[in-house]
């Protein structure tokens, strides 16, 4: 079953770039990573999905219905915005109770559990909280009604590494309980460790959808070498090499192919230093898929 169905979605506004012809289905139980640089259209896609903005054309539905037309489908939706702002004068507990009052069930127990996990002081005034603590309020209010779909927009900003860790564990647990997660981020390492599938959006267009496993199986390596300036590193430019850069004695490229062949070739050079690393998703995306689209 598709929990999210985005069909040929286009949103244009004035001068600001919107999104064009985005189509995307997300199945129940997936953790989907939505990656792109700032301003690529991640938030626009999300906000259309939430019913905060209206599509210029196409459709965005959750559980088969558009949020704008059927606000009630949002009962199964939890949302954590990238920037959290709440009614400053309220206490945390009052805000959470207000949030819970929109979902016709008793959320008290889950609210307490979440507050404990995130180490959130319920008695404080929102106004007095640090940004990181406000973010925690956002996490608790987004999850307290045990939603079946969780939309996260750059969720980890402001959280310290320990809390990020707990947050990811929390999201993982929700997913195990059956929740579908839609996770928008420009931090790729976050997406890499959590998601089952990723989509890359760039300049308002969805340019690639790929299973995480497929990406990880690809044997792309980033190879950096320090060599004697006298030697010609051009010899390394064999098949499977791309993004080849020479900067003085530093040589830098991405390689896909039999690693043994490459090692032999490098062995012929007089090198001073060598590192072979996994390229991050962005490099893979930008250097391979961006060209294809």
């Amino acid at each position: 079953m598709n929990v999210i169905e985005i069909n040929d979605l286009t949103k244009t506004y004035g001068k600001a770039r919107g999104i064009s012809n985005v189509s995307l289905n997300i199945e129940e139980g997936e953790i989907f990573g939505f990656i792109g640089p700032n301003g690529a259209g991640k938030s626009t896609t999300l906000r259309t999905l939430l019913g905060l903005i209206y599509p210029t054309s196409g459709s965005a539905k959750i559980f088969g219905k558009s949020c704008a037309e059927y606000p009630q489908v949002r009962r199964e939706l939890g949302y954590l915005p990238s920037e959290v702002f709440y009614y400053d004068k309220m206490r945390v507990i009052d805000l959470l109770n207000y949030s819970a009052s929109f979902y016709k069930k008793d959320c008290t127990k889950r609210m307490r559990e979440l507050a404990e996990i995130m180490e959130l002081d319920l008695k404080k005034k929102i106004d007095d909280l640090s940004y990181g603590n406000k973010k925690k309020v956002g996490i608790v209010q987004g999850l307290l009604h045990e939603p079946k779909l969780i939309l996260l927009d750059e969720p980890t900003g402001g959280l310290d590494p320990l809390m990020q860790q707990r947050f990811f564990e929390l999201i993982g647990e929700e997913n195990k309980k059956g929740a579908t997660i839609f996770f928008s981020s420009h931090i790729l390492s976050e997406v890499q460790r959590l998601c089952t599938r990723v989509g890359l959006i760039k300049e308002g267009r969805l340019i690639k959808l790929e299973k995480m496993s497929a990406l990880q199986q690809s044997s792309y390596k980033r190879i950096s070498i320090k060599t004697d300036a006298l030697e010609s590193p051009e010899r390394l430019k064999m098949e499977g090499v791309s993004d080849f850069n020479v900067n003085g004695s530093d040589v830098n490229f991405i390689y896909k192919g039999a690693i043994n062949d490459m090692i032999k070739r490098i062995g012929e050079l007089n090198i001073r230093d060598l590192s072979i690393t996994e390229p991050d998703l962005e490099e893979i995306f930008l250097h391979y898929y961006a060209k294809e689209s």
Partner: protein, 266 residues
């Protein structure tokens, strides 16, 4: 219901302050009434020195300046002006505050429709205006009883007071409809002061006489207090005009707010 209660709670303090301010203004005005009565001739002479247009703006009618209703007619102009600012403020802020305080991403993703949010917010605001009026009537009635020097027509006194509610409803509705068309209102009070004073002075300077149709342009002129004192009735056509302004404004508010794009905070 939860939104309604939440809004009532958030409006509680400001409503209380507005009522206190109205009470304080009424007190200051009423406290000079006994000395005006005592020194009636001098006051008439003083006001005679002003040009007629100024007197019209101040709603001074020299013949009955010293009667309680005549005096009240004059001071009510300022109380109504003040009440209009309160209502305009409320109208401008009640919907726009979610964007200004950046809480729209909280409220508008809850499983409620936008029209319900608008309804609850309008309802909470109108409740607060009704409370303001109820308290205001009690306060000015108490002052009137305290400071009266002769009997006066209590029914007419209340008829004058009810126009505060009408004026407030009109300005509230105008504020609401203006707020949905302005992309982001950073600061409410300067805008509401500007709009209310514009209407106030438009009424004072443009309107010439009770038959001038220019009166339709400013809600302050819809309720001619002198007319109410004389006839113990409202002018039906202006009552209808006021109702029309409210209905059209609120309808447009709904239609616009429901289709509005709520952008990310920046």
């Amino acid at each position: 219901m939860n939104i309604y209660l939440h809004e009532l709670r958030s409006l509680r303090k400001s409503t209380f302050l507005w009522v206190c301010a109205l009470a304080a203004m009424s007190f200051i005005y009423f406290s000079v009434y006994p000395s005006i009565v005592a020194d009636a001739e001098n006051f008439k002479a003083l006001f005679n020195a002003y040009p007629p247009s100024v007197l019209a703006m101040l709603n001074v009618t020299l013949d009955n300046l010293t009667s309680l209703l005549g005096f009240y007619t004059m001071i009510f102009t300022f109380l109504a002006l003040f009440g209009a600012i309160q209502a305009m403020n409320l109208g401008l802020s009640i919907l726009s505050k979610e964007v200004r305080e950046r809480t729209a991403d909280f409220l508008l993703v809850k499983p409620v429709s936008r029209s319900r949010i608008v309804s609850m917010k309008l309802l909470a605001s109108v409740t607060m205006l009704l409370i303001t009026n109820a308290l205001f009537y009690l306060i000015v009635f108490a002052f009137a009883q305290l400071y009266k020097t002769a009997e006066y027509d209590v029914a007419v006194f209340f008829m004058i007071n009810f126009t505060l509610l009408f004026i407030q409803l009109i300005f509230f509705a105008l504020g609401a409809v203006i707020s949905v068309f302005v992309p982001k209102i950073k600061n409410v009070l300067p805008i509401s002061l500007g709009i209310v004073f514009l209407f106030f002075f438009a009424g004072a300077f443009l309107v010439e006489g009770a038959d001038d149709p220019v009166r339709y342009l400013t809600p302050f002129e819809y309720f001619d207090v002198a007319y109410i004192v004389q006839n113990a009735a409202y002018e039906t056509s202006y009552l209808l005009a006021g109702a029309a302004v409210v209905i059209v404004s609120i309808t447009v508010t709904y239609l616009n707010y429901i289709r509005k794009d709520i952008y990310a905070v920046s």
